[in-house]
């Protein structure tokens, strides 16, 4: 591997559930990925600023309060507004039926409730190849 994928894990909105995102951060780090975590309650703008500052390859949004469609749309709009082409994905408490909606908004992937850590790791590995 020439360069490790650098991933920004982010908590947008007011949702305080961070067990999952921290578990994922540990797992990705164990797999050798370069992981940055934003902490709680960040605005989409703060997340994008952090992504630019840390020069990450991809942003992962963790959303468990049910606001995933709204926040994903904000993500898409803000990236467009700034003419940025950073890859991003969403995961958390997301019903299966919302996965196609998130992809349609413009996410590179969406991981609904019950996704295994292994599946997320495989996804990031596939991006490195």
């Amino acid at each position: 591997m020439e360069k490790k994928l650098r991933i920004l894990l982010a908590k947008p909105g007011l949702d305080g559930h961070d067990v999952g995102v921290k578990v994922l951060a540990h797992a990705l780090k164990d797999e050798g990925f370069d992981v940055v975590y934003t902490g709680l309650r960040k605005t989409i703008n703060q997340i994008i600023d952090k992504a630019i500052d840390k020069q990450v390859d991809i942003i992962g949004l963790s959303i468990l309060s049910g606001t995933h469609l709204i926040l994903c749309q904000q993500m898409k709009d803000e990236l467009d507004k700034r003419s940025l082409a950073i890859k991003w994905i969403a995961g958390g408490n997301i019903p299966d039926e919302d996965v196609p909606k998130i992809l349609k908004i413009g996410a590179n992937a969406a991981f609904p409730t019950g996704t295994s850590i292994h599946a997320v790791i495989e996804y990031f590995k596939s991006m490195e190849n």
């Binding site: 909105g13 007011l14 305080g16 961070d18 975590y37 049910g66």
Partner: protein
């Protein structure tokens, strides 16, 4: 044989058989209602009165929440547990841009006292005890509760109920902190002190092991960290010139139930005994009631699965049994769909009936502490007590709990454990039926998701605007200035906050006034 050794999640070793020889102490001579209360805090426990059923509920507008409360009361629920939306929990009004999509979503939206007037209308506040699940903005919401009770003509000297008001655990799990750690603790103590002086039957804090466990802690850490946090609040409260017996009997706890059945029961019996000893031996409490570990112990969401969700009904029934066998005062169960959505009315009803079946059909209330005297349970109660004590001593040795949380040391340790547990589940070492064993090949999820009502958002904002237009803005300004003045003078700001809510100052206006003096918490990010 070494490879046959069996350990609980908390690390305690379990023997295949326990006999009279395992009981070194004379704990079998202990009696319920007598210090150190291992067998229960009352002599007759449920024989006198069954545990209180208090399901967590609240969503949408205060009008909708009011309707759900009336439904729950009609169906035999004896206490209410109010869920607030995230803007309310983090001190924002419904019209804040950061609140978009969140107004009324995970709980009820509250902006001003008018919302409390709607939700509690016609509810007998001296019969139904109300629990407010509020932490970061607790001082505002508790002030609203006292104000609405007075407005409805109840004497707050007799007002019962509970505020969660446990900010230290919010920095570990749940994450609805607002102010820096020391200021946050100061506000918790303001509420405790005010209640001790003016609302003596109210429980001003419910220390939550629950969320610490949900964040990844094992059952020993759940109890140890909760007790260390409770001690931090006690130590600060004592500095206000009130004695331990003035308020210790009003402290309450919220604990989690999932995992091994007997591990949980031993945990609670040991916790009750150790807490009594802490309060008597370390704080020199004279009154027996001061030593009572009063608790709500509920079925934990952490044990439930999205896969085969109906299995959660069975899990919750076992959790209810554990809770009753552990001598809880109050019980709440997560509903079977709560792993992924706000419970449907049907799911909430099944939870309610689960607890009622236990009380009315299973004979759970017939006798006190039915497991008392069991060689196994008594042995493990003893071992658990020692283990909780040792973990507390460890925390205190490394610096106190406030320092441990401020620096992020405790969160880091718990988060590592959450990772280990999750890895165990994903790799199949920790068995979860339907998730990593006995799976259905092609499971189609047939559950209903709680819809989000966009109209409620508009309604709530219209109501807020109307109140802002009709209230006396000069009075609001004066009250907000008083809060700032009292905070600067390091006084208890509760009286000033109560005056502010009475003139319809909003959650956000009051929160911002407090922020002016104390600033905001900056999260220590690590994992």
């Amino acid at each position: 044989m070494a490879n046959n050794e069996l350990f609980w999640e908390s690390g305690l070793k379990i023997n295949p058989l326990y006999t009279a020889e395992d009981l070194q102490t004379s704990s079998n001579l202990e009696k319920p209602g007598e210090y150190p209360f291992t067998r229960g805090i009352h002599p007759l426990m449920y024989r006198k009165r069954p545990f209180t059923i208090r399901q967590y509920a609240g969503f949408g507008t205060p009008e909708e929440t009011h309707e759900r409360f009336m439904y729950l009361i009609k169906n035999g629920q004896t206490g209410l547990n109010v869920a607030f939306d995230l803007p309310t929990q983090t001190g924002l009004d419904s019209d804040d841009p950061r609140a978009i999509g969140e107004v009324g979503r995970v709980g009820m939206a509250v902006d001003t006292l008018a919302d409390f007037e709607t939700v509690f209308e016609g509810i007998d506040l001296d019969q139904i005890t109300v629990s407010l699940t509020i932490n970061g903005s607790a001082i505002v919401l508790v002030a609203m509760y006292f104000a609405v009770a007075q407005k409805f003509g109840f004497d707050i000297k007799n007002l019962r109920g509970t505020a969660q008001n446990d900010i230290l655990k919010e920095f570990i799990g749940r994450g609805t902190w607002i102010f820096p750690v020391p200021a946050s603790v100061k506000l918790v103590v303001d509420i405790i002190e005010y209640a001790a002086r003016e609302v003596p039957k109210y429980s001003p804090v419910s220390v939550c092991g629950y969320h610490i466990r949900e964040s990844g802690a094992n059952p020993i850490q759940e109890m140890s960290y909760a007790f260390s946090i409770a001690k931090a609040y006690i130590n600060e409260t004592l500095k206000r010139g009130i004695t331990i017996d003035d308020f210790a009997s009003r402290l309450s706890f919220n604990f989690d139930i999932y995992g091994n059945l007997f591990e949980q029961i031993s945990k609670f019996r040991a916790g009750r005994r150790l807490w009594a000893k802490i309060i008597r031996e370390q704080y020199n409490a004279q009154k027996d009631e001061s030593c009572h570990l009063r608790m709500i112990a509920g079925g934990g969401g952490g044990g439930l699965t999205k896969e085969q969700p109906e299995n959660n009904i069975i899990r919750s029934a076992y959790y209810a049994l554990i809770s009753a066998l552990s001598g809880t005062q109050t019980m709440a169960l997560c509903s079977y769909d709560e792993a992924y959505t706000i419970p449907t009315e049907k799911a909430a009803e099944i939870s309610l009936r689960t607890m009622q079946i236990l009380i009315y059909e299973m004979g759970i209330c017939d006798t006190v502490d039915p497991l008392g005297g069991s060689y196994f349970v008594e042995s493990m109660t003893n071992e658990f007590e020692t283990a909780i004590k040792q973990t507390m001593e460890q925390v205190e040795k490394e610096g106190d709990i406030i320092e441990g949380i401020s620096s992020g040391r405790i969160q880091e340790a718990i988060s590592k454990q959450a990772y280990i547990r999750e890895k165990g589940i994903q790799e199949g070492d920790v068995k979860k039926v339907g998730l990593n064993c006995f799976k259905k090949e092609e499971e189609v999820l047939t559950v209903e998701f709680h819809p989000y009502n966009e109209e409620n958002y508009a309604k709530q904002i219209a109501k807020l605007n109307k109140i802002k237009a009709e209230r006396d803005n000069a009075k609001v300004k004066k009250c907000l200035e008083q809060i700032i003045e009292d905070a600067r003078a390091d006084k208890n700001i509760m009286p000033a906050v109560i005056e502010a809510v009475k003139v319809y100052a909003t959650v956000s206006e009051i929160t911002n006034a407090i922020k002016d003096v104390y600033g905001e918490y900056e999260e220590q990010v690590y994992f």
